[in-house]
């Protein structure tokens, strides 16, 4: 049989971004093909084009020797393609068996669903894959996240798909489950099926994959057998890019230690995290999605409980059980999920800027309206928030201006320590650099900033030091003078520097 997938010269542009530029990708039968690249390199765009989710702008695509003009997710599925994405896209309130048969439940002679047969078939397959401990009759949501992921992985096997895409399949898995996954993949390979494997974890790529394609900034860098390369070279191919000026800010002189964290632990998300941030300093937190970085931030802010460890503010130990205490102590928090965690979408810009400020401006519970207006005006001016007026609902603002309002919210409540989780997510380039300028001013005023970012140029440009997290474990703290993309990526992939 010829190539399972042959994509040549694939290009795709989104407004303002060239997501893919003349990318070639070939998948052979019986091949496990790794697709690697940094965030934003174009991996997901390529997969979505292959799976019929996006339409390519140019290039040719053939699946199992058939030229494909118009593709759709349904057409992809009926050509035997299946993708398992990172976020489990199954019906959580249905049973494992129902999820396997979704919409195609076997029928009895009476036209009713043949439950016994359905669960029997499903159970047989699960046992065959070594997943004996998953009950086909169990509701998906009653299973652990790792087991749910295994169900998601087993489903395309059940459907007998012969082109399978695994997008970061191990992000939620423990070691034994990863082993089961690998044995499933080996079995599929021996049956002549093609597998596209996306992962940031170098050791997995070298453990299971036959060949690897590196993408960078939407371009095809190289395709080669994994035996021709090693983790170091691969990382170099992925990141080898010069830093841009945009991410460089003026450094401020450092003051006293503002925030100190020691032995911070919340199993199973993270353990023994210890670092400090000085006034005027930006400390970066770098790690892959799911590495525990967001959870660490939330724990410091009192949004999630901690099991062990100590947090000290200006030398004094504190223990927060509710964000209100952290806010009162001068900590501000910018969540990565702006719309669901940082702003009240239907409410006015004025209310949003004052969101964490009301206790301070409401003597006897009555809001001081002058102070409220004043705070809104101050931060709209100071942060150059573009809005027709402060009574407009914040949902009408652009992402960048919303994010500036979130900064305003934290400044209005007098934050001396700012915890920022992906502060430039969904923000356009112009607003991005404005936010960096604001960080620059804040550090000059002695504000300490804890910055989570998965975008290397950003975190390397802004941070004075970078703490690298891998699977909830602290891999090291890298000083600015020793910043090096390869080293950071290695650490974040669980390799020693």
């Amino acid at each position: 049989m010829a190539e399972l997938i042959a994509a040549r010269g694939i290009s795709k542009a989104f407004p303002g971004v060239r997501a893919l530029d003349q990318v070639d990708f070939v998948l052979q039968p019986g091949e496990v093909h790794a697709l690697v690249g940094e965030n934003g390199a174009g991996k997901s765009t390529l997969i979505k084009i292959l799976m019929g989710v996006y339409r390519r702008d140019s290039g040719t695509l053939s699946v199992k020797g058939q030229d494909i003009q118009d593709f759709s997710p349904q057409a992809a599925q009926s050509s035997g393609m299946a993708a398992v994405y990172q976020d489990i896209s199954l019906a959580r309130s249905l049973t494992v068996g129902e999820n396997f048969f979704l919409g195609h439940m076997p029928k009895t002679g009476w036209g009713t669903i043949d439950w016994a047969l359905a669960y029997d078939q499903c159970g047989k397959l699960l046992r065959g894959l070594g997943l004996d401990d998953i009950d086909p009759r169990a509701t998906l949501s009653s299973l652990s996240v790792a087991k749910q992921e295994m169900v998601a992985i087993a489903k395309p096997v059940f459907e007998n798909a012969d082109i399978l895409v695994f997008d970061e399949p191990t992000a939620l898995l423990a070691n034994e489950e990863t082993e089961i996954l690998f044995s499933i993949i080996r079995r599929l390979r021996s049956e002549g099926k093609g597998i596209i494997y996306i992962s940031h974890r170098m050791e997995e790529i070298f453990a299971i994959c036959d060949s690897v394609t590196v993408l960078k900034d939407g371009r095809h860098v190289r395709t080669m057998p994994v035996t021709d390369t090693n983790p170091d070279d691969l990382v170099r191919l992925m990141v080898g890019r010069s830093m841009e000026d945009m991410y460089t800010i003026r450094r401020s002189p450092l003051g006293e230690v503002a925030l100190e964290v020691e032995g911070l632990t919340r199993e199973p998300r993270f353990r023994d995290i210890g670092f400090d941030v000085r006034h005027g300093e930006i400390v970066g937190l770098f790690g892959l999605v799911g590495s525990g970085r967001t959870e660490i931030m939330r724990a410091i802010f009192g949004a999630d409980p901690i099991e062990r460890g100590e947090i000290r503010l200006d030398g004094k130990p504190v223990r927060f059980t509710h964000p209100s205490q952290a806010i009162a102590a001068g900590i501000g928090f910018m969540s990565e999920d702006r719309k669901n965690q940082s702003i009240a979408l239907p409410l006015s810009v004025r209310t949003n800027i004052n969101l964490a400020n009301y206790p301070a401006i409401s003597p006897f519970g009555v809001v001081n309206q002058t102070a409220e207006r004043e705070a809104a005006r101050t931060y709209i001016d100071r942060l150059a928030i573009k809005t027709p007026s402060d009574t407009v609902a914040i949902r009408n603002l652009s992402g960048g201006n919303q994010q500036k309002a979130v900064l305003g919210k934290n400044l209005a409540s007098n934050s001396r320590i700012l915890v920022c989780d992906e502060p430039t997510i969904g923000v356009d380039v112009g607003a991005k650099s404005e936010i960096y300028k604001i960080f620059e001013q804040l550090t000059e005023e002695g504000v300490a900033i804890l910055l989570v970012s998965s975008y290397l140029p950003e975190i390397m440009g802004l941070a004075d030091r970078i703490l690298v997290i891998y699977e909830g474990r602290q891999m090291g703290i890298v000083e600015r003078s020793e910043f090096d993309e390869e080293r950071l990526v290695r650490l974040a992939s669980g390799l020693q520097a």
């Binding site: 802010f301 949004a303 509710h322 964000p323 209100s324 952290a326 806010i327 009162a328 928090f333 969540s335 669901n340 965690q341 940082s342 702003i343 009240a344 979408l345 239907p346 409410l347 006015s348 004025r350 209310t351 004052n354 969101l355 964490a356 009301y358 206790p359 409401s362 519970g365 009555v366 809001v367 309206q369 009574t391 407009v392 609902a393 949902r395 919210k409 409540s413």
Partner: protein, 328 residues
């Protein structure tokens, strides 16, 4: 289930409590048109007797609607208010019958009412039962308790001065209406000028945003359901004063009238939208149509159809206008 009844917040009320022209002017205009139309078609409508009767009738639903409004602003719902109307009337009547002064029995009844609301708050916040189900359960329990307490019989022979609360006038204005307006101003103040009111709107737009902004959910959830029940208990006392007895079946489906008034007045079951003036106007419009319809001799069942249609039109028109605005 609750999703079925949810509508998108209306345009023009997105700004905290401050009513922008659109909806409130429309509601005002509807009230004026109704009054002009009914005055010209019915010789009875504009008489002082009928108008004062109309205001008394509206006050009960109007008071409950103000409490319901606050709950709806937090993206919740309170189905137990009708049952609380009944239990307040019965408890207060039984206490007075047992010889307690009404100046003691009424505050005591209000406290009991508020406590039932806090119970709702506990179910919703601590046990994480959705407001719809939690207050449905409370409704059923309270209805049962009312029947047990009263033996399913009315509690009559109440002190004369108790009956005068609802029937009395102050400067020719029905005292019930004055009580309602006092509560209206208090609610308006609470929603627009206090931290508690801000908290309700913020919680209504997202509980997680509220929590991460340092708002403690527990006291706020207790407060909002407690207030809603407190208002309903007051309405229950006034209703039994008006009838001069405690009626175990009082207040049936009053929760639906209150929700309707809030929604006609621009409230959204998605939360974070609605205003006190809107809820007041919504209650007035509903009661005026009922009152006027009766005077014009319209079949009361047909009136029900009209009021149902009114709810759908009020919300539907705004939804369409909003969808149009979204498409640009």
């Amino acid at each position: 289930m609750a999703n079925i009844v949810k509508t998108k917040p209306r345009q023009g009320i997105t700004v905290l409590g401050k009513y922008t022209i659109g909806t409130s002017t429309t509601l005002m205009a509807i009230v004026v048109i109704l009054f002009v139309f009914l005055s010209s078609t019915s010789s009875v409508f504009a008489t002082p007797e009928n108008l004062s009767n109309l205001l008394r009738q509206t006050s009960i639903n109007g008071i409950i609607a103000l409490g319901m409004l606050m709950v709806i602003i937090t993206a919740g719902i309170d189905l137990s208010v009708g049952a609380i109307v009944a239990i307040a009337g019965i408890v207060n009547a039984l206490l007075m019958q047992a010889g307690m002064s009404m100046w003691v029995s009424m505050p005591l009844t209000l406290v009991i009412g508020a406590a039932i609301g806090v119970f709702n708050g506990i179910l919703i916040h601590e046990v994480s039962i959705t407001p719809f189900i939690a207050t449905l359960g409370t409704l059923t329990i309270v209805r049962g308790i009312v029947m047990i307490m009263s033996g399913a019989r009315m509690v009559a022979n109440l002190p004369k001065e108790f009956g005068q609360i609802a029937s009395g006038d102050i400067f020719g204005i029905p005292s019930m209406f004055i009580i309602w307006m006092v509560l209206f101003v208090a609610t308006l103040f609470l929603l627009n000028y206090t931290q508690l009111g801000r908290n309700f709107f913020i919680i209504g737009s997202s509980k997680e945003v509220a929590r991460l902004s340092g708002i403690r959910l527990r006291p706020n959830m207790y407060a909002v359901y407690g207030l809603s029940s407190l208002y309903a208990a007051l309405a229950g006392i006034l209703l039994s004063s008006r009838l001069s007895m405690g009626v175990p079946t009082a207040g049936i489906s009053y929760e639906l009238d209150a929700i309707a008034a809030v929604v006609i007045g621009g409230g959204s079951l998605f939360g974070a939208a609605g205003s006190a003036i809107g809820a007041v106007l919504g209650a007035i419009i509903m009661q005026t149509i009922r009152n006027g319809g009766n005077l014009l001799g319209i079949d009361p069942f047909a009136l029900q159809v009209i009021i149902g249609a009114l709810i759908l039109i009020a919300v539907g028109v705004d939804q369409l206008r909003m969808r149009k605005a979204e498409k640009g």
